[in-house]
C-alpha cells in the first residue's frame, strides 16, 4: 500500500496522457469518445483514492522523483499536498462531467478532439503536482498548447483571432515567468550534483533581498495574472470563452483559471513574501476594481457566454484579493472557492450550451420562457445561479463569506467596495434567469425540449455537490488546513 500511495501523482498524469495518445491513434470517433470517457472516470477514481488515502500530508509527504537532468539540478519531481489534492480532484471530477454533458455533441475529427482534451487534462495534473520549477513550467506551457489547438480548430467564427490573442497573452506571461524562474534558480545553493537546483524546497529555502523580490514579483505575477485573469490583463478572456467550443470553455473557466490562483499560492507567496507584502495593496486594488468593472459589463451583456465570462472575472478577482489579504480565513476561503467556482461555472456553461444547442441562439434578448417547456432544466439552473450569487446553503457562500471576512480583516474599505459586486452579481444573474427562463415563450424558444437523461444526471450531480459543500464544507477545510497554515506562516 505504501508504494501505491507514492505512485498516485504519477498515475494522475499518466492515465490521461496515455489515453490521450491512444485517442489520436484511434481513427474511429465513437471509440475515441468512449476511451476518453472511460479514462476520465479512471482518473477520477485514482484521484478519489489518493485523496482518501493521503489526507493532508505536508508538502514533501507524497512525491515521486526521477532523476532527469542531474547536473542542471532538475528532476521529475511531483507530489501532492492538500491544495494539490483539492485541485487534482477538481480536475479529475470536471472532465467526466464535461464529457458526459457534451456526449451528444458531434465533433469533426472527434478522435483528435478527445485526444487534445485528455492531453490538456494531463498538463493540468502536471501543473498541480509539480514540485520542481522547471517541471512546473513545462506543464504550465503544455496545458496551453492543446487548448490552443482545440479552440482554433473547433471554435466559433472568429476563433482564430480570439484564440491567438489568448495564446500570445499567456505565452508572453509564461516567458516572463521563465526569466523569473531562471533568476531564482541561479540564487539557489549547490547540491551534490549541480551548482543550483530547481526543486521547490530549494526555492522555498531562499531569502532573496527586498530589491530582487520587488521586480521578480512582477515577472511571476504578470504570468499568473494573465492566466487568472486579473484586470487589466483580462481582455483575452471574454473573446476566448465566447469563441471556444463549450467543452473547452468549461475546461478554461473551470480549471485553467485556477492554475493562476494556484500558482500564486504555490510559487509566489512562499518564494517572494516581501514582494507580495510590498505590492499587496496594488494587487488588491486591481482585483477589486476588476470585480466591479467586470460586474458592470456583465450587466450590459446580451450574449450568455460573455455574461458568464465576465461574471467569472469578477469571481476570480475576489479570490485574488483574498489571497493577498494574507489572512488565514481569507486563504482558506480561496481554497474552497477554487473548488466551488470550478463546479458552478461548469454547471452554468452546461446550461448555456443546452440552450444554444436547442435554439441556436445565445442572445438574452431573443430568448424567453424556457421554463414552460423545460422545468427540470430551469430548477437546476436556478440552483446553480443562486450558487453563482453565493446565497447561503450553496457552496459559494462558504467561500465568499470567508474571503470577505479575510479582506475585511485587512482593510474594511476594500471589503466594502468588493461587497458591491455581490449586489451586482445578483442583478446580472437574476436578470438573466428572469429573461431567459421566465416570461413569455417566443418563436425561438417554442421548440425547446426537456433535457435528456445524461444531462439531467450531470446537472443533478452538480446541484448535489453545490448543496453538499455548502452545508458540510469541513472535509475541504481538513484537506487544505495544513497548506493554508504553511502559506500564512510564509507570508508573515
Amino acid at each position: 500500500m505504501q508504494n501505491l500511495g507514492l505512485r498516485f501523482p504519477e498515475l494522475l498524469i499518466w492515465s490521461p496522457l496515455i489515453a490521450g495518445l491512444l485517442c489520436f491513434i484511434l481513427k474511429n470517433d465513437k471509440s475515441a469518445k468512449a476511451v476518453a470517457l472511460f479514462s476520465s472516470i479512471v482518473t477520477l477514481v485514482i484521484s478519489f483514492a489518493s485523496v482518501m488515502y493521503a489526507g493532508d500530508k505536508e508538502l514533501s509527504g507524497l512525491k515521486d522523483a526521477y532523476v532527469w537532468m542531474p547536473y542542471l539540478g532538475t528532476s521529475f519531481n511531483i507530489g501532492l499536498d492538500g491544495m494539490g489534492h483539492l485541485l487534482t480532484f477538481l480536475t479529475a471530477f470536471s472532465f467526466p462531467l464535461i464529457f458526459v454533458a457534451t456526449y451528444k455533441n458531434n465533433y469533426k475529427n472527434a478522435s483528435s478532439f478527445y485526444g487534445l482534451m485528455l492531453l490538456t487534462q494531463a498538463g493540468l495534473m502536471g501543473v498541480f503536482t509539480a514540485m520542481d520549477a522547471l517541471v512546473f513550467y513545462f506543464f504550465w506551457e503544455l496545458a496551453l498548447i492543446p487548448v490552443y489547438f482545440l479552440c482554433s480548430r473547433w471554435g466559433g467564427e472568429r476563433r482564430i483571432q480570439a484564440t491567438f490573442k489568448f495564446f500570445v497573452y499567456t505565452f508572453t506571461g509564461s516567458l516572463l515567468m521563465l526569466v523569473g524562474i531562471i533568476y531564482v534558480y541561479l540564487q539557489t545553493p549547490a547540491t551534490p550534483f549541480s551548482e543550483h537546483s530547481f526543486s521547490i524546497s530549494a526555492f522555498y529555502g531562499l531569502h532573496l533581498s527586498f530589491q530582487e523580490q520587488h521586480w521578480l514579483f512582477w515577472l511571476f505575477f504578470i504570468a499568473f495574472a494573465i492566466k487568472m485573469p486579473i484586470f487589466p490583463f483580462h481582455t483575452w478572456q471574454p473573446d476566448t470563452y465566447e469563441q471556444s467550443p463549450t467543452a473547452v470553455t468549461m475546461v478554461l473557466s473551470g480549471i485553467m483559471v485556477k492554475m493562476g490562483v494556484f500558482a500564486v499560492l504555490r510559487w509566489l507567496i512562499p518564494i517572494l513574501p516581501e514582494g507580495v507584502h510590498k505590492f499587496e495593496t496594488v494587487v488588491i486594488g486591481l482585483s477589486v476594481f476588476g470585480m466591479i468593472y467586470a460586474s458592470l459589463i456583465a450587466i450590459k451583456q446580451d450574449d450568455l457566454k460573455r455574461l458568464v465570462a465576465y461574471s467569472s472575472i469578477a469571481h476570480i478577482g475576489l479570490m485574488c484579493a483574498a489571497i493577498f489579504s494574507n489572512t488565514q480565513i481569507g486563504v482558506q476561503g480561496v481554497m474552497i472557492q477554487m473548488f466551488s467556482h470550478g463546479i458552478n461555472i461548469i454547471g452554468l456553461w452546461i446550461v448555456v450550451d443546452l440552450i444554444e444547442k436547442q435554439t441556436g441562439v445565445r442572445k438574452i434578448s431573443q430568448l424567453g420562457g424556457v421554463a414552460h417547456n423545460a422545468p427540470v432544466l430551469t430548477i437546476m439552473l436556478v440552483v446553480i445561479a443562486l450558487a453563482n450569487i453565493a446565497l447561503p446553503l450553496t457552496n459559494a457562500f462558504v467561500g465568499e463569506f470567508m474571503m470577505f471576512n479575510g479582506l475585511f480583516k485587512m482593510n474594511a474599505w476594500y471589503a466594502a467596495i468588493a461587497g458591491i459586486s455581490i449586489i451586482l452579481a445578483a442583478v446580472y444573474t437574476l436578470n438573466m434567469v428572469q429573461k431567459v427562463f421566465y416570461g413569455e415563450t417566443n418563436s425561438v424558444t417554442a421548440g425547446i425540449k426537456e433535457i435528456a437523461l445524461n444531462e439531467k444526471i450531470i446537472l443533478a450531480v452538480i446541484v448535489v455537490v453545490i448543496f453538499l459543500v455548502g452545508v458540510f464544507p469541513q472535509p475541504v477545510f481538513n484537506l487544505t488546513k495544513e497548506t493554508v497554515t504553511f502559506l500564512i506562516g510564509k507570508g508573515r
Partner: protein, 467 residues
C-alpha cells in the same frame, strides 16, 4: 582533424564522379555514403581522442587541446545535420540543375571549412576557414542559372561577402600590428585587462563587424533576406542552418579565446547588436507573406538569441550554443524540406495542408513549435540555455526581458503557418502533384521525433561535453 581531411578528399572524389559518372542518382548515394563514413570517423576521434592522421599543424588548429572534444561535438552535430539534410533533400538537388555531383562536392568543401572554423587557433586559419565556407556558397546561391533572382542573389552575396571579408582582413592586420607579440595566434592576443592600444580597438571592432556580417546580425543583415530568398530553396536550407551555425561558432570562439579577458570593453557593443538583431528580425518577419522570406528573417531573429552566447561568455553559453545550433538546424532543415515540396511559397499556399498532407503538416508544426521555443521540443532548451547563460552573466537584465518579448512576437509569425495548415481551408483548384516518397515521410517523422527527443532529454547532446 579526421573531418577536415576526409571532407576535402571526398569533395574531390565527388567532383571527379561528376566527370565520369553520367547517372544522376549515383552522386547522391556517393555523397550520403561518404558523409556517413566521415561522421563515423569524427565520432571515433571524439571517442578515442586521437585522429587517424598525425600531422604537425604547428598549433594552427586546435586538434589536441583540452577544448578539442567540445569542438568535435560541434562538428558531429553539424555533420549529423548535414546527413539529415542530404537524406531529406537529396532528390531536390537534381531539380536545381544538371551538375548534381558538383553541388555535393561544393557542400563537402564547405564542411571542410566548417571543420577549420571549429578548430582554428590563429586568425589566419579563421580567415581560410571562412573563405572556404563562403566561396562555394556564392556558387551555390547562383546555381539556378536560368533564374534571374538566383543570379542576382549570387552576385549580391558575392559582393557583400567579399566586402566583409575585406573588413575582416583589415581587422586581422590591425590586431597583428596592435599586439606586442605580433602574432596571429589567439592565445597571444588574449591580453589582460587595462587600456588597449587604438590599433587593437580598431581591429576588434572591424572583426566584430565582419563577423556580424557573416552571421547576419543587425545592422549588417541587409543581404540576408534577398540572398536567402533568391537562392534555390535547397541551398537556402543549408545556408540558414549549417553554415550559419558554423560561422556563429567561429564568432564565439574568436571572441572567447582572443578577447575573452577584455569582455567588459566590448560587451556593450554586443548588447546593442543583440537588441537590434532581435527587434529587426522579429518585427520584420511579422510582415512577410512568403514563408521563405519569413524564414530568412526568422534566421536573423534566431541569430539574435544565439548572440546571447557572446553576451554571456560562460560555461552555460558554451553548452547552450551547441544545443542551440543543433535545435535550430534540425527544425530549420525540417521546415525547409517541407517548404521545398510546396508549389506556392506564400503563407496562403499552406492553407489546408493538414487535410491534404497530414504527415507534412504535423511535422512542420513540430518544427515551428521548436523554433518558437515551446517545451517538449528542442527549441525550448536551446532558448532556455541562452536565457540561463544571460541571466547568469548578470548584466543588462532588460536585454533578457526584451529577448523573451521578442520570442513572444516570434510566436505570431510561426503560428500563422500553423493556423494556415490546420484551421484554414485550402484552395481545391490548385491541386498539385506531390513529389513525396514514403521514405521522405519517414525521415521527416524521424527528424520531428529527434526534435522532441532533444526536448525531453537535451542531455544527449550536452553529455558529450562532460566526458
Amino acid at each position: 582533424m579526421n573531418e577536415i581531411i576526409l571532407t576535402a578528399v571526398w569533395g574531390i572524389v565527388m567532383m571527379l564522379s561528376g566527370a565520369f559518372i553520367k547517372n544522376k542518382s549515383i552522386p547522391k548515394y556517393l555523397a550520403i555514403g561518404g558523409l556517413v563514413v566521415i561522421l563515423i570517423a569524427n565520432c571515433v576521434e571524439l571517442y578515442y581522442r586521437e585522429s587517424f592522421f598525425s600531422i604537425d599543424v604547428k598549433n594552427m588548429l586546435n586538434v589536441n587541446g583540452s577544448e578539442t572534444p567540445y569542438y568535435l561535438t560541434f562538428i558531429t552535430v553539424m555533420l549529423f545535420s548535414t546527413l539529415l539534410y542530404f537524406l531529406l533533400n537529396g532528390r531536390d538537388f537534381e531539380k536545381v540543375g544538371s551538375n548534381v555531383a558538383e553541388y555535393f562536392a561544393l557542400i563537402f568543401f564547405i564542411l571542410c571549412g566548417v571543420g577549420i572554423v571549429a578548430t582554428f587557433n590563429t586568425l589566419l586559419m579563421l580567415f581560410i576557414g571562412i573563405e572556404i565556407i563562403s566561396i562555394p556558397l556564392y556558387i551555390l546561391t547562383g546555381s539556378d542559372k536560368r533564374n534571374l533572382k538566383s543570379n542576382e542573389a549570387g552576385l549580391k552575396y558575392f559582393l557583400m561577402g567579399a566586402f566583409s571579408t575585406g573588413i575582416m582582413l583589415m581587422g586581422i592586420a590591425f590586431i597583428y600590428g596592435g599586439t606586442d607579440s605580433a602574432s596571429f595566434f589567439l592565445d597571444k592576443i588574449n591580453i589582460g585587462a587595462g587600456k588597449m592600444s587604438p590599433l587593437l580597438v580598431t581591429g576588434l571592432v572591424l572583426l566584430l563587424i565582419s563577423m556580424a556580417f557573416k552571421v547576419s546580425a543587425a545592422p549588417f543583415h541587409f543581404w540576408t533576406p534577398d540572398v536567402y530568398d533568391g537562392a534555390p530553396t535547397v541551398f537556402t536550407s543549408f545556408m540558414a542552418t549549417i553554415v550559419k551555425a558554423a560561422v556563429f561558432f567561429a564568432f564565439f570562439r574568436l571572441f572567447e579565446n582572443a578577447f575573452g579577458t577584455i569582455q567588459p570593453q566590448w560587451q556593450k557593443l554586443i548588447v546593442i547588436i543583440t537588441a537590434a538583431t532581435l527587434l529587426i528580425g522579429n518585427l520584420t518577419a511579422v510582415f512577410q507573406q512568403s514563408v521563405k522570406r519569413m524564414l530568412a528573417y526568422s534566421s536573423i531573429a534566431q541569430a539574435g538569441f544565439m548572440l546571447f552566447a557572446l553576451f554571456a561568455l560562460n560555461n552555460k553559453a558554451k553548452e547552450g550554443l551547441v544545443l542551440y545550433t543543433a535545435a535550430y538546424s534540425l527544425a530549420t532543415i525540417g521546415i525547409f524540406a517541407v517548404l521545398i515540396k510546396m508549389n506556392d511559397y506564400t503563407i496562403d499556399g499552406f492553407n489546408g495542408l493538414a487535410k491534404k498532407q497530414p504527415v507534412l503538416a504535423l511535422t512542420a508544426t513540430i518544427f515551428l513549435l521548436s523554433l518558437t521555443g515551446i517545451p517538449l521540443t528542442a527549441g525550448f532548451y536551446a532558448k532556455f540555455y541562452m536565457l540561463l547563460a544571460a541571466v547568469k552573466n548578470g548584466h543588462s537584465m532588460w536585454l533578457v526581458i526584451l529577448a523573451v518579448l521578442c520570442a513572444a512576437i516570434s510566436a505570431y509569425y510561426y503560428f500563422r503557418v500553423i493556423q494556415a495548415m490546420y484551421f484554414k481551408d485550402g484552395n481545391e483548384t490548385t491541386a498539385q502533384d506531390w513529389d513525396i516518397t514514403p521514405a521522405f515521410k519517414t525521415l521527416l517523422v524521424l527528424t520531428a521525433a529527434l526534435v522532441i527527443l532533444l526536448g525531453i532529454f537535451p542531455t544527449i547532446v550536452i553529455d558529450w561535453l562532460y566526458y
